[in-house]
């Protein structure tokens, strides 16, 4: 079993987003970095499949030199190898990103044989383009399921399930090799162990330098949406506030 999992380094935003003065990026001076929750789950899924069935897992990212932090985090929880498609830090659009990933996959597969499964997050946390996985699959002529919250890899097939819009689940059985994008909830990712972190620090990372001219971002500027002003009505402090809460329930028609 040969699995590739793709992740993206993004700022760990929690509070209000602040932009740089030129409105081209998030001001990350006071922020840490992470990957999307979907991608954390994709990494965990790759580790679990290889633990259960044997084989090799590889993590790939397209990003600046600093994205090696995210590659090492993935290796700290059990990914075997890492590959950095190195940029100069500028943003890459979805078409260019998918193209660079496809080139890297073709180059690796020419040496090591095909990846049975390529995993990605359903969408990146920051740009939310919802399309890199499908673009990679179509370029490689491989079947793709997006938004998977359940995954089983059989000898000849991949069985993925995703939530149906009307509730319940849709099940897709597709031939291997395949591309699957996953959503958070498919598993509960483990935390890295200290020995895992130490091992990851020593591992080598394969690097490919990308041509910045290929990036072609469509961005003109970013802006933080204007928030609705909300004048919060404090109903009280502690248990004494309960009668006023009940009044609110009545007003909203929640109780008779």
């Amino acid at each position: 079993m040969n699995i590739l999992v793709c992740v993206k380094r993004v700022p760990a935003t929690a509070g209000k987003i602040t932009l740089t003065a030129d409105e081209q990026a998030i001001d990350t001076r006071y922020l840490g970095f992470t990957v999307s929750p979907h991608e954390e789950c994709a990494v965990e899924e790759a580790v679990r499949i290889v633990e259960a069935q044997g084989g090799t897992s590889t993590v790939l990212t397209l990003g600046p030199e600093e994205a090696t932090d995210q590659l090492r985090e993935a290796m700290a929880v059990g990914i075997d190898r890492a590959m950095l498609l190195q940029t100069d830090g500028g943003e890459w659009d979805a078409v260019a990103t998918a193209g660079a990933i496809v080139d890297a996959i073709r180059a690796r597969e020419a040496v090591d044989g095909p990846y049975d499964l390529v995993l990605l997050g359903n969408e990146a946390a920051d740009t939310g383009d919802y399309q890199v996985g499908v673009r990679v699959a179509v370029a490689l002529d491989r079947p793709a399921v997006t938004g998977a919250k359940g995954l089983e890899v059989r000898d000849d097939a991949v069985v993925a399930r995703r939530e149906a819009a009307s509730g319940g689940w849709e099940v897709y059985e597709i031939p291997r090799p395949a591309v699957v994008t996953v959503k958070e909830g498919i598993n509960l990712p483990r935390y890295p162990s200290v020995p895992g972190r130490l091992r990851a620090r020593k591992k080598e990372i394969e690097r490919v330098t990308l041509d910045p001219a290929a990036a072609s971002p469509a961005r003109i500027r970013l802006r933080v949406p204007v928030e609705k002003e909300s004048a919060v009505e404090i109903l009280g402090e502690g248990p004494e506030a309960a009668p006023r809460v009940v009044e609110v329930f009545r007003r909203l028609g929640l109780i008779a």
Binding site: G128, Q131, T146, R223, L252
Partner: protein, 325 residues
Amino acid sequence: MILVLIEHEAGMPDRLSSEALTMGRRLAEATGSPLHAMAWGDGAAAGAGPLRGAGVAVLHTIEDPRLTDYAPEAIGKGLAQLIERERPLAVIGGGSDRAVELMAHVGARTGLPLAANSTDVRPGEPWQVTRQRWGGSLLEEARLDGPIRLLTVAAHAVEPAAMTLAGAASPAEVRPFAPDLTDGDLRVRITSRVPAEAGKISLADARVVVGGGRGVGSAEGFAELDELAALLGGTVGVSRVVTSAGWRPHAQQVGQTGTRIAPDLYIACGISGAIQHMVGARSAKAILAINTDRDAPMVTRATYAVIGDLHTVLPAIISAVREAR
């Protein structure tokens, strides 16, 4: 021509498709071009009446006897072929998982860029879109390049215009389109279904959601939240901290990577209000925050707040609700 991708029930466009149609109609008016729609699946042609009421002149139906159920690769390929034949100015999909997936296939097959989760589009030199990043916590103004502009409309970003019933008298012209598909294109399709659990209140549709965050403190700490939710006919939702700790299943998570909720009241207990959580609660009509921290983002964005420990406040609310009945 402006072309809108329709998802439908026996021809009747669903809510998210109506949002795409509304944006499509505006764009057709702004560019002085006709509005067309495309749809696949059983009963697609029955949409000709209601779609005429939405301003659609022509409805293209993707026809292939093998398309008996959702098959994203085959349908996406069919849509791409239709688009390359018709060469519309722009193609607009709705904000559903399926519409976004199909539009991604169209983008991949045609090599065109796709602006996902757009809230506004402005034709010109160049065309521009406003689109959501970070689940809507941030907006991007971007160019929309390509001879055919592909975009999807962010769910609930556009208020769907009412369809006038007058259209039923003169339905849209239906033009069946038979795509060139091979059996191999059908390799991705729904092979089985698992029905939803009966009788369970869905988080996305619940009228009341009682939310719990880090402040709940443990899996056991949710007993009071469960009780209040049951009393009010609602359901429990949680923040990401709670699912990461394993206190509650991910199916109950509210937020950017969980469920978007739209209740009449969201009772947020011990939730600080990180942006990834707030984007999931944005459509709540009212928020009651119960929190020890008066300055927590959840409190400052709430409609109502009680300052205090949820484990003393909730039992008091529960008994007050019981007494009030």
